[in-house]
C-alpha cells in the first residue's frame, strides 16, 4: 500500500520536465529537428529509426508519449499501434501526418492513435501536443493508481 501511495505522489509531482518521449522516425533530418524542439520544451527524448528498436525501448522503459511518422516505409500502422497498446495503455500515441484529415478518420478512427499532428508544424503546435499528451497520460495513470488503492 505504501508503495502505491509513493507512486501516486510521484505521478502528481510529475511535470513537463519529466516527460519521456519516444520519437520514431526513419528520416534523420526530421528526427534531429523534432528532437531539438522537444528538448527545448523540456522533454527527455529517445529517438529511434526502426520499429524493432522502438518496441525494444518501450518494453525496457516507461514513456509518456510515442511520436511517430505516418510515412515510414513498410510500417503497418494498425498493427504497430496495437503492439504499443499491449505494452503500455497509459502512454499517449501521436502520429505525424500530411494527408487530409478525412483519410485518417476513416482508416485509423478506431485505432489507438490519440493525436494527429499535421505537417508542417512548428514549436507551438508541438508544445500543444506534448501538453495535451502529458495531461492525458497523467489522468490515465491516476485512474489506474486509484483502482489499485
Amino acid at each position: 500500500m505504501s508503495q502505491t501511495k509513493a507512486s501516486a505522489k510521484d505521478v502528481t509531482m510529475l511535470n513537463m520536465k519529466n516527460m519521456e518521449v519516444l520519437l520514431f522516425d526513419n528520416r534523420n533530418d526530421q528526427s534531429l529537428m523534432i528532437k531539438e524542439m522537444l528538448k527545448q520544451i523540456g522533454c527527455r527524448v529517445s529517438p529511434v529509426m526502426i520499429k524493432h528498436d522502438c518496441l525494444a525501448k518501450l518494453i525496457n522503459g516507461r514513456y509518456d508519449l510515442v511520436l511517430f511518422d505516418h510515412s515510414i516505409p513498410g510500417l503497418d500502422v494498425t498493427s504497430f499501434v496495437n503492439q504499443l497498446e499491449i505494452i503500455d495503455r497509459c502512454m499517449s500515441v501521436a502520429m505525424m501526418v500530411t494527408l487530409p484529415s478525412r483519410f485518417y478518420e476513416g482508416k485509423y478512427g478506431c485505432s489507438g492513435i490519440d493525436y494527429l499532428i499535421f505537417k508542417p508544424f512548428g514549436y507551438e503546435e508541438l508544445l500543444l501536443l506534448v501538453r495535451e499528451a502529458f495531461q492525458s497520460s497523467l489522468k490515465l495513470k491516476k485512474i489506474i493508481l486509484n483502482k489499485w488503492e
Partner: protein, 132 residues
C-alpha cells in the same frame, strides 16, 4: 489534294476535341461522371503536393522556431519573424490544398486555376487543424 484532306481531317479532330468527347454511356449519366473524374484527379494532385512538401517544410519551420527562441540579436530576430510569417502563409495554402473537397476553378488572367478558397464558416479553428 490529299494534303488538304489531311488538314481538313485534323481540323475535324480538333473541333471534335473542343466539342464533346464523352461516350454514349457518359452522356446518358450526365456531367456528374466527368466532374467526378476531375475531382479525383484534383484530390490526387493536391494530396501528392501536400505530401511532398510536408517534410522539408516541417524541418525549415522547426529550425526557424528554434532560431527565434534562441536568437538575442534584434535584427536577426526581426528577419526570422518575417521568414516565419511567410512560412505561415505557405502553411495556410497547404492547408487549403489539403482540405480541397470539390472541383472548382477561378479565372486568373484568362487561365483557369484551382479555387481552393473555403467559406469562412468552413474554416476549422487552429486546434482542430493541428491536432484532432
Amino acid at each position: 489534294m490529299e494534303t488538304r484532306r489531311k488538314v481538313n481531317k485534323q481540323l475535324d479532330i480538333g473541333d471534335r476535341r473542343k466539342v464533346d468527347r464523352r461516350s454514349g454511356a457518359d452522356r446518358r449519366s450526365g456531367w456528374d461522371k466527368t466532374e467526378g473524374h476531375l475531382l479525383r484527379g484534383t484530390l490526387a494532385a493536391t494530396a501528392s503536393m501536400v505530401f511532398q512538401f510536408s517534410r522539408p517544410f516541417t524541418i525549415i519551420l522547426g529550425y526557424v522556431d528554434l532560431l527565434l527562441n534562441r536568437s538575442k540579436e534584434k535584427h536577426t530576430k526581426q528577419k526570422l519573424v518575417i521568414i516565419k510569417e511567410q512560412l505561415e502563409i505557405i502553411s495556410e495554402i497547404l492547408d487549403d490544398f489539403r482540405e480541397v473537397d470539390n472541383f472548382k476553378t477561378k479565372n486568373f488572367d484568362g487561365m483557369e486555376i484551382l479555387d481552393t478558397k473555403r467559406l469562412m464558416e468552413e474554416e476549422p479553428n487552429k486546434l482542430d487543424r493541428k491536432i484532432l
